[in-house]
Symmetry: C2
Subunit: 358 residues, 2 copies
């Protein structure tokens, strides 16, 4: 009474996917050998491998991930664990990670969480244990939290950290070289004739703020310029704090002709403060930000800003994470370049009356 004949070599019924057994029967080998072919174990005869590959194609077989995960005691999932307030950052990092995962047959599980939460560590522990992650990727600021790193080590969960500084061994790090971008901004401003320059830092607890600030000051020093302490202030990486610091700097007896804010949110806050004080932008004040958010190209005047290749950084993190797992499936790991770049727009210009840059 069944339309489909019961055949032990081909799976029957709708929704039935072929298994490793079907492939083994069709190729005339044991399932263990099929398993070896799937897992690219070298010690399989050329002719046998070809028979198996043909059978796999003929049946349209794809190994069941759940079964492999159970037997391997590890899933084919990579976790992105983050506490980052910037949607653009998060989405671009996800895209970069997926660029690498897709071809390797891994998927991305996202796990936003809160640094402040008392349950942070328990939360991450539960996530990693339940999912038996193949690995975790940690963007800043979570990448700077050594408690989390210690936890991942304890759980035996591989990880890669993304941070402005090399906080870990190279295999477990993507270092973003923020200091290079900040230095480029400094040099550019000096070349435009600016001498009285101000810096709006982020919270000192953020590695990125320290590294960017350091890069900026060093580059200025190389040009023989030191910052007036009154021109070295810190906000909270937020728009509102940018407004506040902008007012503080522009209210100085001898206000700066240029302000470098260590992220775009604060730079746009500075812009707002300048406008509230009736300044003509960019004629009376040059402003440079960091991050190159989409917003930077939309505000008026368009914001000159340092761009980090977030997507490439995510890609690199994923490649480093999976390199030891997938082995030969990966080319000699051609890692993308992740150097920052200054994107010139209208918010920063040459100081009126300045010499043209050398």
């Amino acid at each position: 009474m069944t339309d489909v004949p019961d055949n032990e070599h081909t799976p029957s019924g709708p929704g039935k996917r072929p298994t490793i057994n079907d492939v083994a029967h069709l190729a005339g080998v044991s399932k263990k050998t099929v398993s070896r072919v799937i897992n690219r174990v070298a010690t399989v005869g050329e002719d046998v491998r070809e028979r198996v590959d043909n059978a796999i194609c003929a049946l349209g077989f794809t190994p069941n991930l759940q079964a492999r995960s159970l037997a391997f005691r590890r899933s084919f999932l990579v976790g992105l664990i983050y506490d980052n307030p910037s949607p653009t950052y998060v989405v671009n990092m996800q895209l970069g990670v997926l660029d690498a995962l897709g071809p390797l047959g891994f998927e991305l599980v996202v796990h936003p969480c809160s640094r402040e939460a008392p349950s942070l560590l328990d939360d991450i522990r539960g996530f990693v244990e339940r999912q038996r992650l193949a690995g975790a990727i940690l963007p800043p600021p979570l990448s700077e939290d050594e408690r989390i790193i210690a936890l991942l080590r304890e759980l035996g969960c591989r990880y890669v950290r993304v941070a402005a500084l090399a906080l870990d061994e190279p295999e477990a790090m993507v270092t973003t070289n923020d200091q290079l971008g900040a230095a480029e901004a400094a040099r550019w401003l000096v070349d435009q004739g600016h001498r009285r320059i101000a810096l709006v830092r982020g919270p000192s607890s953020f590695c990125s703020s320290e590294v960017r600030g350091q890069g900026f000051l060093s580059a200025l020093a190389e040009r023989g310029i030191t910052l007036d302490p009154a021109c070295d202030v810190a906000g909270a990486y937020t728009f509102e704090s940018g407004v506040e610091m902008g007012h503080r700097l522009l209210g100085l007896a001898d206000p700066p002709t240029a302000i470098f804010a260590l992220n775009d949110d604060m730079a746009i806050g500075v812009m707002q403060a300048a406008r509230e004080r009736g300044l003509d932008l960019p004629a009376q004040l040059s402003i440079v930000g960091f991050d190159d958010l989409p917003m930077a190209a939309r505000v008026w005047p368009n914001l000159t800003s340092v761009r980090l290749p977030i997507r490439e950084m995510g890609n690199m993190a994923a490649l480093k994470l999976l390199a030891p797992i997938v082995g030969d499936a990966l080319e000699p790991l051609s890692l993308p370049d992740v150097r920052p770049a200054l994107v010139l727009r209208q918010s920063a210009i040459a100081l009126p009356g300045a010499e043209p840059p050398r």
Copy 2:
């Protein structure tokens, strides 16, 4: 020579997690009964259930997800399949979905893809089949693609669509009522005395553009206002197209006093066009957008815009998706409200000389 005594009731060795067998032994029942307790099957004696619960607590047992996935032939993963250019939208939807998934023990796998890609359907098929998703959530514009819906049905994959219109049965839909927000914007502009009003639509292929436009026109009509056809234009939901349409509208012999753009990117483009034409904003032109991007509060003048509760929409989608799966674990499904709201800022003001609103 082993420090840890081998005991069949407690797992030994580091990294060894207790299994259902350990719980069964400790509670003095079969593993099947433990399974019943885990899965909240009703037919378990009260005393037995308590013994099992105690054993679970004592051992710190959590069921192995990989094993359950294999036996259930379904994972505990929800897929978010999208092709949405707005990072803010994507991140907020992810957060909303996770608000619901976390407490239920499910995780979120993100799957961005491209509508244009010829491999779109194969790509989605592979994703859904390999992961054996518990379900998929589709935000616009993918939610409007009936080919994808047909595919998911064929694969037996549960789904919930998020869209401006009710495109599916209520259990599989989160309808965002965009027309209500557009109507609110229309009424507000009219109340401020505006009569010559323009509309910048998005692509007609987007459901959201049609629904928002419809809501806007209807509300104007109720106040006895019809749009001059020259004031009804369409962009591409991009900043650049907003600039272009802004110039077209402001170049009319009798330009509008207010422009409603169906998303913020275009509204900010219109703002740019107005500035390029030397208009004084908002005095000479009121502008209203839709989406309430973070940028809306940062541009100058701040953009009045319609906000959609994206996070709540994601939450609602996830709750609807899992309701039939988790059953009683869910309260009588107290679904959040997902009505849009007009956020008043500085970019739109009363027409000079207009009567104060009723």
